[in-house]
Amino acid sequence: MSDKQLTDWRQHAQNLESEINKVVVGQQTPIRLITTAIFSRGHVLLEGDVGVGKTTLLRAFTRCIGGGYQRIEGTIDLMPNDLVYHTYLGEDGKPHVSPGPLLMSGENLSVFFFNEINRARPQVHSLLLRVMAERTLSAFNKEYHFPHMLVFADRNQVEKEETFEIPSAARDRFMMEIPIVVPDDNAIMESLVFDTKFHNVDALVNTIPADILQFDQLNEFSALVQNKIEASSTLRQYALNLWRATKTPSAYGVKVSGVDMNRLVLAGASPRGMSMMLRAARVNAWLNNRDSVLPEDIHAVFHSTVAHRIVFSPVYEMRRTEIARELLTGIVNAIAAP
């Protein structure tokens, strides 16, 4: 039965990818990674320039997953209570309280979409820490549970004014940080500019069939995938070596141009991060119709699950994206399996 489930859900996943690839063109890799995150039950942070399609991509996925969907825009004056409740004066002239975006859909909340997360204050990030890690929230003397919730967030790296750096503890809650870049392909670029279907984003997203996945079955199925897809002792050793290399890259002969390797890394990947990496790798193996994880499955998710977790010396933080890419490529090149 479980084998059939695995096959059926793989069909659903492929269907999901195919539908999203129709509306968000030239983003096959991010789409595969977000699909992986959904089946690994991990939160996703998209990073990229302005207007590259981050929000459209997340909205498209949200439509396919089904369930309750809430969205909030990150602003400098956003406070944690804005996520929990609204207060207003009703028609009767009395104050009223209504549930905020987090509580609105109750336990059916499947996607909480946080747009421009880096514009929100650290207090808001702090609230998110708990919601993302535990999927619970205490409000009005009651504890609310969001068992199916995934947080999709995006931020642009270009603007630095009126923004707050997301602390490493909050970054670590995200399973993946996925860079979105404009495709290089001329035909795609031309299509994005001249094809009228891309002019109206709402209409575009609405062309995707809704509820391709059953949001309330994803947790159970994710556990099934994690149990069914195995990791051999050689692969475990390989993953451990990768982990060690994120802590002391110089010990493995990894070099990054223009960087003092002995001062670069303040903290390597966390145990939670490596656990998330293996979860994602298992899902990648399943999506590729395999029963066991290969090093190539780890490679497919290594950058997106590890890069945002490594803490660099402050002097190198400004070049984080570039350095992290070179560092992780160096680690993959340096570690052999077997």
Binding site: E230, S232, T234, L235, D291, S292, V293, L294, P295, E296, H299, A300, V332, N333, A334, I335, A336, A337, P338
Partner: protein
């Protein structure tokens, strides 16, 4: 004042001269006392045994004669080691040098309860010759012992004479056959020394130097005698040769070995997802692209697939050995032979 100073200087000079004179006198007295003949050692104190040269005729100039003298000396008599003859000492006979020189001497001493045993090794070299056979003598060496004071030897010094050894020195040429006086041309170059030992040493040194250079080249060439020998797949091939197809662990060893060879060639870890980069940078391997794919497939089955054990058969190792040979050919820029699928 000046007068007093002169007196002082004069008196101090006198003391100094007196001291130096007394010192020289005492030293010369000691030397004189040592060279002075001493009474013979009482009979029965020394027991001698000699090993003389095995023949006493047929010696030529330059020959070395060796004697070994063993002396058992009863206690409390002790050999005065400074009385032993010294190297370079040449005996004189009736004021004439004998032409026989002591060229080496050594001795050992062994203490027993009632006696002391001395073994003296003497080597004499002949520096004389004659037109006819000439009698010669290894001289009787006189050595001294310190014993108890007696009526004859108040200071206890006694001497013992090691018996001489008689032999004959042969001429270097037949008498009258060579008359050197008739052949004294000033144009004749001096007789040269034979250079054979030096030549041999030179040849041996050159051979050693040559071997060292070859060894150095071997080390510098990554421990390979030929330019292609030390390359990764050549090394892997040598390693794979010793592996057995029946041993399941050997399959893993072979795969690991080949992975290392591929990584060494690429200078980074090659996986199935970046094998195309490897082929771009090492285009000589492009002809075995399919085989590389099969290799990674096999590696995945052996190392990462926990359920499928179909790859663990002896054919896999045989295939790997052939694959390694293909890679070695590619490494050498040769066209590899086709390989059947596993």
């Amino acid at each position: 004042m000046k007068c007093v100073m002169n007196k002082l200087i004069k008196s101090s000079n006198i003391y100094l001269f007196t001291f130096v004179f007394a010192f020289i006198l005492s030293k010369s007295f000691v030397v004189f006392a040592n060279d002075e003949p001493s009474p013979d050692i009482p009979e029965g104190i020394v027991k001698i045994s000699k090993i003389n040269p095995d023949r006493n005729v047929g010696y030529l100039m330059g020959d070395i004669l060796k004697r070994t003298i063993a002396l058992d000396v009863k206690k409390p008599y002790k050999l005065i080691e400074t009385s032993l003859p010294i190297v370079g000492y040449e005996h004189r006979y009736q004021g004439q040098v004998s032409g026989i020189e002591l060229c080496k001497i050594s001795h050992t001493k062994k203490e027993n309860d009632d006696k002391t045993s001395y073994v003296i090794h003497l080597s004499y070299q002949i520096f004389t010759t004659a037109p006819v056979v000439k009698p010669a003598i290894l001289p009787a060496e006189v050595i001294k012992f310190q014993g108890p004071a007696s009526a004859e030897a108040k200071d206890g010094l006694v001497q013992y004479k090691i018996p001489e050894f008689y032999f004959r020195i042969s001429p270097m040429a037949v008498f009258g056959a060579v008359k050197i006086e008739d052949d004294m041309s000033p144009l004749r170059q001096p007789i040269l020394l034979q250079a054979y030992p030096e030549k041999e040493k030179l040849v041996a040194s050159l051979i050693l130097l040559g071997l060292s250079l070859v060894g150095l080249l071997y080390i510098l060439g990554s421990r390979a005698w030929l330019p292609f020998m030390g390359r990764p797949f050549a090394q892997a091939g040598r390693h794979l040769r010793g592996l057995s197809a029946t041993n399941t662990d050997d399959l893993k060893t072979a795969l690991t070995c080949l992975h290392k060879a591929i990584n060494s060639t690429a200078k980074y870890s090659v996986f199935s997802d970046n094998v195309s980069d490897f082929l771009t940078h090492s285009p000589s391997f492009k002809v075995i692209e399919n085989e590389l794919g099969q290799f990674f497939e096999l590696s995945h089955k052996v190392f990462f697939d926990t359920q499928d054990t179909s790859a663990h058969d002896k054919n896999s190792l045989v295939w790997l050995k052939r694959f390694c040979k293909q890679c070695r050919d590619c490494e050498r820029g040769l066209k590899p032979a086709n390989l059947k699928k596993i």
